[in-house]
Amino acid sequence: MVWAIGGSEAQVGGVHQTVAEMWSEANPDNPIRIEILPEAADEQREQQALDLQAEAGGFDVLGVDVIWTGEYSENEWLESLEDIRGDIEAVTLPGPFETGIWGGELWAAPYNSNAGFLYYRTDLIDTPPTTWEELCQMAEEAGGAEGIAGFVGQGAQYEGFVVNWLEYYWGLGGELYNEDQSEVLFDVDLATQATEFMADAVNGCYAPGFNTAMEEEARNEFQGGNAVFMRNWPYAYSLIQEDTGSPANESFDIAPLPTFTGQGTISALGGFNNAVSAFSNNTEAAKEFVLWAATDPEVQSTLATEASLPPTMASVYDDLADDPVMSLLGEVLSEAKPRPPAPQWNEISVTMQRALYPAYNGEGDPRSAAEEVLAFLEGTVGN
């Protein structure tokens, strides 16, 4: 069988290879090997799309980003996983489980998850903030005193920006759609507020490179000691911890992201699921594999212990409660919100980027940008 998955962990020595080996040892008559796709999610999708569109059947199992479920299912590229749904649902955290569902059916089995953290400097901040306004204020004060910038996140014009913006918008109590994406619940006022917050912060607590930063730029700024706060995925934790030359090395910690209401926490849900190609010649075995990867405790804890990839299986978090990253993840994942796995998500994301990015950079009006997004979202409900 062929497993099309990408990124650093798919390389030789990575955790996905370990998982593939675990399966192949236990199932010598049906081994699985990895076709290594590139790191960038967009490119993974491109390469998978080439095979799937041609109905070539070169891939049996696909590593799909949580936001592709609707698109892949609409294109009839996937096998339905309804018959193994029950087993998976029983052991998986609800948020990640939702990301594999489209049209009420399960199309992709959970594999690993991701959620945003707030990283902060413990030598400059005593208790992490619970609201964004508080964060901005603390950032400016502490940063000003230390001579460094306040806050870094992902602000360049790409999907990561939409993730950051949604975390503000959701933190205000905003929603995009209702449960089954049949109704638009987008609130223009809250959206405007979120965008205005960002626009103010650009001149305030945001670091200078905020609007061209992706994950790596943000991490380098924080790790280099140039920012008080950072919003990033868990991957940065071990990197900062191992970097003894970093000013943040001994004096940083992680906390849940703040909201605007001060209650709870909101972060965007990321991660990857495993789906079965509709053109595979080995459907039964492939389904077995994705079921196993989602429900086997050994696999799921290996993801955590070997690669710090957040597992989707709830019980693993209890076992690993000692690890700071895992314990925070356990806390945050229950309140993490997925982006709608709708087939139109790409279009929606691009529309949001094109409208909201200029708006927060002073090139457009936040309210009209929000209205533009609303108009687009309403157009999608008809489909």
């Binding site: 798919a10 490119e43 790596e216 030359g245």
Partner: protein
């Protein structure tokens, strides 16, 4: 005439200063002290402009560890060859082999086929040349990204995916226009009576082309060869679509580099990327050094007239 060693010639100018004139390959050069200094300064600026980023690449490729790699300071260590080890550990030498074969095949086929076509359009009787030229040009103009889906289908059906031919055939097709245009300008600059003269001596048109005209177009041929080679080598879109993985088969260098990953997700492996870039640039420079001599060989039409 141009084969003799350059001989210094003294000349007294209007200002009464003696200047040395040297002839080298048809280009006459004059030097005065001021000009020499000015030229050296200009040369320095140009070298800095061209090579400074490359210097950055080399320095970055030698750095180890996150701290160094992301620092604006060029000289912040620690330094080591770890990145180069990592690059070769990923079968990069196979990528080099693939790229070399594919670019080489493209260059040879393009030059052979393109020379003939360019000569025909420039010097032989053909109807509707402008139309033909426009057609030739049009071939290379359509946005490649839109050509990819149908070509992928066709290639898959022909079994050309993940093969060398699957790449050098389209590369040749898309690089022929540039080749033809470059070589055309060369053929056009050769005096027209040469073919007549050859014919008087009993040569067929083909022999006239092969023995008389082609050697004179050598500088153009070598210039075109470098260009074709480098363009094919650096081509990304088609290579990424037709042979995206599997260095042991046909994955080329740019595709391999773009697929490098860091140690953890999201991490941009700038160390290995720059190391690969340095590894790749050095043979290209060597090839360029070899070819550039042939471009500026300096024979040219001057000697033919004599």
């Amino acid at each position: 005439m141009s084969d003799t060693a350059p001989a210094p010639v003294e000349e007294v100018t209007r200002r009464g200063q003696a200047r040395k004139n040297r002839r080298q390959g048809g280009v006459v050069e004059q030097r005065s002290t001021l000009q020499v200094w000015g030229k050296s300064a200009l040369l320095g600026v140009i070298l800095l402009w061209c090579l400074f980023p490359f210097f950055w690449l080399i320095m970055t490729s030698l750095k180890m560890g996150d701290r160094a790699l992301n620092s604006p300071n060029l000289f912040q260590g620690p330094f080591g060859l770890q990145n180069y080890e990592a690059v070769f550990g990923q079968n990069f030498h196979l990528n080099l082999r693939n790229s070399f074969v594919i670019a080489g095949a493209t260059t040879i086929i393009c030059i052979v086929v393109g020379s003939l076509t360019a000569y025909a359009i420039a010097r032989l009787p053909l109807k509707r040349k402008i139309l033909l030229l426009s057609g030739v040009l049009a071939v290379s103009l359509f946005p490649p990204v839109a050509l990819v889906p149908p070509l992928y289908e066709l290639w898959r059906n022909l079994g050309l995916l993940n093969t060398w031919e699957g790449l050098y055939i389209p590369y040749t097709a898309f690089t022929l226009p540039l080749t033809i245009f470059i070589l055309m300008t060369f053929y056009a600059s050769i005096p027209k009576d040469l073919e007549e003269a050859a014919r008087v001596d009993g040569a067929t048109p083909f022999q006239a082309f092969l023995r008389v005209i082609l050697p004179l177009a050598a500088p153009g041929v070598f210039a075109a060869a470098i260009i074709i080679f480098v363009l094919s080598w650096n081509e990304f879109l088609l290579a990424n679509t037709f042979a995206p993985r599997n260095a042991e088969i046909a994955q080329t260098v740019p595709v391999a580099i773009a697929a490098f990953t860091g140690a953890v997700p999201f991490q941009r492996p700038i160390g290995t990327i720059t190391a690969a870039c340095v590894i790749v640039t050095i043979p290209m420079i060597i090839i360029a050094l070899i070819f550039q001599k042939r471009i500026v060989a300096g024979l040219t039409a001057g000697s033919v007239k004599g």
